[in-house]
Amino acid sequence: MATKILIPTPLRPYTDKQEAVEASGTTIGELLVDLTTKYSGLKAHLYNEQGKLRSFVNIYINDEDIRYLQKDQTPVSATDTVSIIPSVAGGV
């Protein structure tokens, strides 16, 4: 079952420039593993050496931050939209 994942601009170089990709999984954790298997360049940007999700990248399911749901155990369905929201600093 494929769920849509919205890819932010800074990470599009690692997804062949696509702004949305599909990945499979019943939880956020499974979904992201599938995503980083398909697009290995993303792995270092999303996960640190200990395999934990980096905290300058937030994962949202629809409009809710997964940190306030069940984190990577949060269940995902095909109708949800998952977004990766990184911190950006540009302002000048």
């Binding site: 932010p8 601009t9 800074p10 599009r12 170089p13 690692y14 062949d16 420039k17 290995s40 360049g41 270092a44 940007h45 980096r54 905290s55 300058f56 937030n58 949202y60 409009d63 809710e64 931050d65 306030y68 977004s83 929201i85 990184p86 911190s87 950006v88 600093a89 540009g90 302002g91 000048v92």
Partner: protein, 398 residues
């Protein structure tokens, strides 16, 4: 900001004429305009975001506007830093901004601070103002601005941009989240390109900067629903706005129930741009000073080695459109995003020099190549811009 109406300054006849479109709206009215006149906003940065924000705050009649910037107006700023013009090139941004703001509205007080914001001056600089408008362009300053706002109890009208996407929110409001609630940790240096490296759609900071100014005006006038606890995401190319929920993190080290950060810290070290004082001391004691010379090469050194006939493979990790503008002699192009898939085109025993525009992306690519077994990788410090400046000024600079 909650001043008694009687204590608010009166409006002059000239101001009544000037702000008539505000006054005839029930949402603002005379009292709202008087609050704006009594109000104050500090714009940190007079660049892409600060420019439109400050101009609209001046037009709206915010009584006191402070601007913090230490930069000089450059040609490449004019595509988006709308407060500056061609005649301002070479002037300080503060001088240019003050002239423009005073022309828009001579009634307001414009204070300029020609300094870099630092842990030593932030609290003093922020104190006199009601709202802080974060228009900075780097992570250490964003964390510094956030922490100072939380410590002082001042709301932070936040905005940030990248290429054609923007973000906006209001942080550090009472009972609202702060920037660290959203992003406890900054990205490692070099992971997210700056505007000089990533490019930015000129109109983009215009939208986000004015959203920040709108929030500042709402907070001072006490109207509408501010973006507290709401994260606005804007995609200019698709012309879509999205709103995500933000929550105050009870464990936040700055604004949580048991804060551990009660003073401003060394933000450069926090963002990994410089080892902390403790780490530096430890390195010196071990006698193992970090040898960046083994991982970097300067433009001048590269030219010397090329002239000597050294066998070097030069890999340019910029985008094809940049490669069309200028390129190092003998270089091959593998854009950064394609390196994980295409590094097999390179020989891991070769001596490789990686370059990009100013050295950020190439540093990332160099680290990646080393991580997959390349033995001799050097990063061109300062990128092709350093080459243009120090080796071949006939090449176009962009």
């Amino acid at each position: 900001m909650a001043i008694e109406t009687d204590a608010l300054p009166q409006l002059t006849n000239e101001e009544i004429k000037r702000y008539s479109r505000h006054l005839i709206m029930p949402e603002v009215g005379v009292d709202g305009q008087r609050r704006l006149k009594a109000g104050s906003v500090l714009c940190v940065g007079a660049g892409g975001l600060g420019s439109p924000a400050a101009m609209y705050l001046a037009a709206a009649g915010v009584g006191r506007i402070g601007v913090v910037d230490f930069d000089v107006v450059d040609f490449s700023n004019l595509q988006r830093q709308i407060i500056h013009g061609t005649s301002s090139v070479g002037k300080t941004k503060l001088q240019s901004a003050k002239e423009r703001l005073t022309d828009i509205n001579p009634n307001i007080q414009v204070d300029t601070y020609e300094t870099a914001l630092s842990s030593e001056n932030a609290l003093e600089l922020f104190k006199p103002y009601d709202v802080i408008l974060d228009g900075t362009d780097n992570f250490p300053t964003r964390y510094l601005t956030n922490d100072a706002c939380v410590l002082l109890g001042k709301p932070n009208a936040y905005g940030s941009i990248f290429r054609f996407e923007g973000q906006a929110s209001v942080f550090a409001a009472k009972d609202g989240p702060c920037y660290r609630c959203l992003y406890p940790e900054p990205p490692p240096p070099g992971l997210v390109p700056s505007c000089a490296e990533g490019g930015v759609l000129g109109v983009l900071p215009g939208v986000i900067g004015v959203i920040q100014a709108t929030e500042a005006i709402k907070l001072i006038a006490g109207i509408g629903e501010p973006l507290i606890g709401r994260f606005l995401i804007y995609d200019a190319l698709r012309m879509r706005f999205r709103e995500l929920k933000l929550r105050k993190d009870p464990d936040c080290p700055v604004c949580g129930t048991n804060p551990t950060v009660t003073r401003l810290i060394d933000y450069e070290a926090f963002c990994g741009l410089r080892p902390s004082v403790e780490e530096e001391a430890a390195q010196m004691v071990q006698g193992a000073a970090k040898a960046t010379s083994q991982t970097d090469i300067t433009a001048v050194e590269l030219k010397q080695r090329m002239d000597r006939g050294d066998a070097l493979t030069i890999v340019d990790v910029r985008e094809p459109n940049e490669y069309q503008i200028n390129r190092l002699p003998g270089s091959q192009l593998i854009p950064l995003g394609e390196i994980p898939r295409r590094y097999a085109e390179l020989n891991p025993e070769d001596e490789i020099v990686v370059s990009c525009k100013i050295g950020g992306r190439s540093a990332k690519a160099a680290d990646y190549l080393r991580s997959v077994g390349f033995k001799h990788v050097l990063n061109l410090k300062g990128g092709i811009i350093a080459w243009v400046d120090k080796v071949d000024p006939t090449m176009p600079r962009y």
